[in-house]
């Protein structure tokens, strides 16, 4: 019995269509390992913001795109400083941020010391938009290695461990900072809320001594689990000497890193101009 050639055509179309459907499913975009759901920060950093009626709350949340053996979020805050370069060296317009970092005296000392200890310099180089401006950025975060030698994350949050150089043309911005939700976290936070899935932890007043100091690390983290962090900053006028009063042309940076199984897969750099305390 012969089969109609039109039937062959229909069979071939069925095979092709189902192959295309399967191929489409197979090639579907994988979700981000850590996807940002919310990233809110104050427009400006001002000491005694609440008294001046200025918003000073930070809110961040993200979701896991896959199951992870270890999920880690690291929060750091960096204050801007005037960079001091090697004698007789000035950055050119085309000099990269990483090259500029190699001529900042503080970083030269630190990079050499870490090299002598046998630790790789943990540099992140990328173009970043900070406070509306696109910069070439070089960021050194030594906190993961220094954490090994600190008995507590609270102790780690007291010492400088993070550096950033932002460069655009001849403009160079240099930052030094520490891990933690904010500088001098215990004294500068009004409250802190950390939520993982349905588990919510709140810290107010003295409880902040026992709060996580900017490092959230979870084992066996499932897919589609959400983490959110909310806190409000209230800094006294004479607190945090790294951010001096009366200086308005500087930025404070909030840096948030997400590590999926030891690999950096999410990076946020929030810039806030330092505002004046209005009498």
């Amino acid at each position: 019995m012969g089969i109609d050639s039109r039937l062959y055509t229909i069979l071939a179309v069925a095979v092709i269509m189902s192959t295309l459907v399967v191929a489409t499913i197979f090639r579907a975009d994988k979700p981000e390992e850590i996807a940002i759901l919310r990233n809110k920060k104050p427009e400006m950093f001002i000491k005694e913001a609440a008294q001046k009626g200025v918003e000073s709350s930070f809110s961040f949340s993200c979701i896991s795109g896959r199951e992870m053996g270890q999920m880690e979020l690291r929060f750091s805050v960096l204050a801007e400083k005037e960079p001091i370069y090697d004698p007789d060296w000035v950055p050119g317009e085309e000099t990269s941020a990483a090259e500029t970092a190699n001529h900042i005296v503080t970083l030269v000392s630190i990079l050499s010391t870490m090299e002598r200890l046998g630790a790789e310099p943990p540099i992140i180089q990328r173009a970043m938009e900070v406070n509306g401006t696109e910069y070439d950025a070089a960021i050194y975060d030594f906190s993961r290695i220094l954490e090994l030698f600190c008995s507590s994350r609270r102790g780690l949050s007291k010492s400088i461990s993070v550096f950033a150089v932002l460069k655009k043309g001849e403009e160079v911005r240099y930052f030094e900072g520490r891990t933690g939700f904010f500088l001098d976290q215990v004294n500068s936070l009004d409250y802190l809320t950390v939520r993982r899935g349905e588990n919510r932890s709140e810290y107010v007043g003295d409880e902040l001594e026992d709060s996580p100091f900017g490092i959230l690390r979870y084992s066996d983290f499932p897919k589609d689990e959400e983490i959110s962090v909310i806190f409000e900053v209230q800094v006294e006028v004479d607190a945090i000497p790294e951010i001096p009063l009366g200086v308005t042309d500087r930025l404070v940076l909030q840096m948030i890193q997400g590590y999926a199984d030891g690999d950096l897969s999410m990076f946020v750099l929030n810039g806030m101009p330092v505002g004046l305390v209005i009498a």
Binding site: F142, L148, I160
Partner: protein, 332 residues
């Protein structure tokens, strides 16, 4: 070349020398002062005579470098030849955390006054200074008269009484300037007192964690060579040399970062790298396994789908094509 330039160059040279096994066996002693690097360099010079085999020395005027270094595993001691508390303003928290967790420190007058050094003058160098004492003038030179109080064997080479260059000293007192002896957790031992006021001039302190500090509440010197209290004259004094050397020996005998991590930090750094690699490898294996499973599931779904299509087509067309033939034969 000035002392400043000399020590900046020395610092860079020391830091750029490749690490050797011998270096890893030495602890690092940091000397920090923002404006008296010559004085700090002189102290480093004289200490390296006694401790050169076991310690490397680093002089810096950069508080950021000090803040960072305090977390390193090879730190033996931090020496702060600082005369104004404002100069350690950004280091109060890092130094307190360092000392609380186990670290050695030697501080001069600027670290001992509560009004500016705050917690540093209470928790690390517990002088609780809120009053200032005056020197005794001897042959036109301001000196403090040191009289031994309690004894520690390490300081036995020092005489029971001696004079040492210094303009002012700071101490804890009531509003009516009566001497106060603050109560602190741990052991606070006054080694030498001022002859006239009885105020502590050299204090040894060991906190509950085993960290040790020495506080010099006097030794107020100046950088000008024509000043009566020029620091160079202090550095030349045998009693000062013995005192600073004994101080380093005593503080290094307590709990330090180097005593905790000095012998194991290379393995710890290596271990961290391996732990990260292991995490990545496990993640890759998990993802590969998931990809394989997904591929198999899709292949199975594809085959089932094609078979289903064939079955449908067969029933819809081939079955119908055979059907009318049978009807025809019956009707025939």
């Amino acid at each position: 070349m000035s002392w400043n330039d000399r020590y900046l160059v020395a610092l860079v040279v020391v830091l750029l020398i490749p690490a050797t096994v011998a270096d890893q066996e030495k602890s690092l002693v940091i000397l920090y002062t923002p404006d008296m690097t010559d004085f700090a360099g002189g102290i480093a010079d004289l200490l390296s005579e006694d401790f050169g085999d076991s310690c490397n020395f680093m002089v810096t005027d950069d508080p950021s470098v000090v803040s960072f270094m305090l977390s390193l595993p090879n730190i033996g001691c931090v020496i702060l030849p600082v005369l104004r508390g404002k100069q350690v303003e950004t280091l109060i928290d890092p130094l307190c955390a360092y000392f609380e967790a186990g670290g050695a420190a030697i501080g001069f007058q600027g670290c001992c006054g509560q009004s500016q050094a705050e917690d540093l003058a209470r928790d690390v160098f517990p002088a609780f200074g809120n009053s200032t004492g005056s020197p005794t003038m001897k042959s036109g030179v301001p000196v403090n008269e040191y009289v031994r109080d309690e004894e520690i064997p390490t300081f036995a080479d020092l005489p029971a009484e001696f004079d040492l260059l210094g303009q002012f000293f700071t101490y804890s007192a009531t509003l009516s300037r009566e001497l106060l002896e603050p109560d602190v957790p741990g052991d606070r031992i006054v080694l030498y007192r001022d002859r006239g006021s009885g105020a502590p001039l050299v204090m040894a302190y060991e906190n509950e964690a085993g960290s040790r500090s020495i506080s010099f509440t006097g030794c107020f010197v100046r950088t000008r060579e024509d000043a009566a209290n020029y620091y160079g004259n202090l550095l030349d004094d045998e009693n000062f040399r013995a005192m600073i050397s004994d101080s380093l020996e005593w503080t290094l005998s307590g709990k330090t970062r180097f005593s905790d991590y000095g012998s194991i930090y290379p393995e710890m750094i290596e271990g961290q790298v391996e732990a990260d690699d292991s995490l990545r490898q496990r993640a890759e294996e998990r993802m590969e396994q998931r990809e394989r499973n997904r591929l198999l599931a899709l292949a199975a779904a594809w085959i089932v789908g094609i078979l289903f299509s064939f079955a449908l087509i067969y029933r819809a067309f081939l079955g119908r094509a055979e059907g009318p033939g049978e009807v025809d034969s019956h009707s025939a």
